[in-house]
Symmetry: C2
Subunit: 357 residues, 2 copies
Amino acid sequence: MALSASLQALLDRFHAGTTTALARAISLVEDEREGFQDFMHEVLKVGPRTARVGFTGPPGAGKSSIVATLATAYRARGEDVGVVAVDPTSPFSGGALLGDRIRMNELTTDAGIFIRSMATRGSLGGLATTTKEVMDLMDAFGFARVLVESVGVGQTELEITAAADTVVVVLVPESGDAIQAMKAGLMEIADVFVVNKADRPGADRLVKEIRQAIHLRAGSALRDVPAHHGVDLSRLGGAGSARAVKERPARAEPQGWEIPVLRTVAQSGDGLPEVLEAVDRHREWLTKSGELGLRRRARARVRVQNVVDRELRRLARHTAASGGRLEHGLDAIVQGAETPYSVAREVLADLLDPEAR
Amino acid sequence: MALSASLQALLDRFHAGTTTALARAISLVEDEREGFQDFMHEVLKVGPRTARVGFTGPPGAGKSSIVATLATAYRARGEDVGVVAVDPTSPFSGGALLGDRIRMNELTTDAGIFIRSMATRGSLGGLATTTKEVMDLMDAFGFARVLVESVGVGQTELEITAAADTVVVVLVPESGDAIQAMKAGLMEIADVFVVNKADRPGADRLVKEIRQAIHLRAGSALRDVPAHHGVDLSRLGGAGSARAVKERPARAEPQGWEIPVLRTVAQSGDGLPEVLEAVDRHREWLTKSGELGLRRRARARVRVQNVVDRELRRLARHTAASGGRLEHGLDAIVQGAETPYSVAREVLADLLDPEAR
């Protein structure tokens, strides 16, 4: 489909590498303005190119400091970097300690780095489809690296695997309790573990616990689903698709990647070069092993489902609203004359069989 | 639509009040077995009747103890009670202290109480549509009260308003930090606040903070959205319906309900009669003020959207899978020959315009 004249002009400026065009494109997508899907289609024709690294973990674990340090290191190599922060407590979002904010400000004055802070989806949390679309825009814009920071609260932990090639899980000794509850989920998604604030009591114990958990998992993986691949990405395509088919169920355990467990003190910079090195090494492994293509394919599956579901929800809301059908139906449900199932059936019939109207 | 012979037999036994029929109906819905939506339609023809009370708050706040005590009190009045526990740490789900478990066991030997523990939706959290359907089954089965306990982690806090008429938020002095982050959401959904473990340090401060927050909210409500009604229930209809229309935007502040802030020590039973009384009083207010009908109507809207979205997702997955269209599309996306938007467009065209196939 042809773009409108103004969107075509935006696309041209986007392809020319104008940063303001990237910012405008992000607004276009965030607001779901007329034609944004056609625009995204044009933009994504280049295919995925960038290295996407996700950082997740509890609030206050120091994710932002680590992201800021890594971004600076990439810039020092001459690489352009995009950062997406989905964390209400992140310094990128303005809610942070002064020291952190100063460090972020240094970054934001650099033209080779583009930082976008995104709201979580209201109280619903998680990575919205829009967040992934913003990462796609940064990818298509040509950033060598796109880093995404998201606070780890259930949903997000899994969704970050649908957004990043490499997932870095950041924990702190204080999150010892949390890990009990989150262990299973975190073990499945981490490509690199970072124990930050490693100078505090309990850091040794936490490192040891994580190593043991990885070891146990590696042992059971030989007869079980492989690490990371055990994450049922297709589940992320929609909240109710619990019985969706697993991606690559029959695939063998990927060889050659041992999940490192690194110690850092982000405030002083201790251990951060090792994180940079581990992320680089993981990237190399992803490419060589063919795993990168598989992860991109799994991600594409989620994205198609996201786009389909969003459009269907939009159409269904529109159909339900037309002619006041839903409002009448709600009254009837409260009175016991109809049920959600009979009203839903009418909405679906209207949507799927327009001829019958 | 006519039910199959076996579902009709199940319906007859359900209507006759056979508890095993309720249990089988719940399994039918949980497994989304053939014909479950038609079965639900038949069951719900009686309309909503029961009093639904939701309990939410952080893990370990003592929600289960409070629910157990209230259930016992209702039973003492001769009322049948259904309990749905959506909390992996709940004693109802087996993960709890011995003392709690003994108390639960006393309940479970009572034929007038039916307890169902539901899994959270994997790592996605929240109240699944299925959970609300189980509550509907308990309602239709004829329980005078249906209590739902769900751990408060973001999403769930809001979703409980789409499941209960009365929402009791349970906090403990230790959750003082958590309240900072959750305050806005909790203020909006609570009809009754309970500060449990009120004999611990910090309880006074917490009670005072909550009262202040309620007071502030009441002041701003005159020019802002009213309490509870500020919750955009329609947002819960689907993860992406962020711009859905608010239910009853123009309605005035409901008069006559002041949110009580109660202190309890659930282990000793201190303060629990006051919780029972507050819930009863809220019920009376809901009925007299006409608010009950409005809340049931808002809930029906969410339920219709849930049912429509679930069915559309199912159809979309089926359409995408047919003929290997999606698999080819994914390969093309990774190669940059297609994008998620063009593949989604094909899936949608197939689904919405079968003639064009």
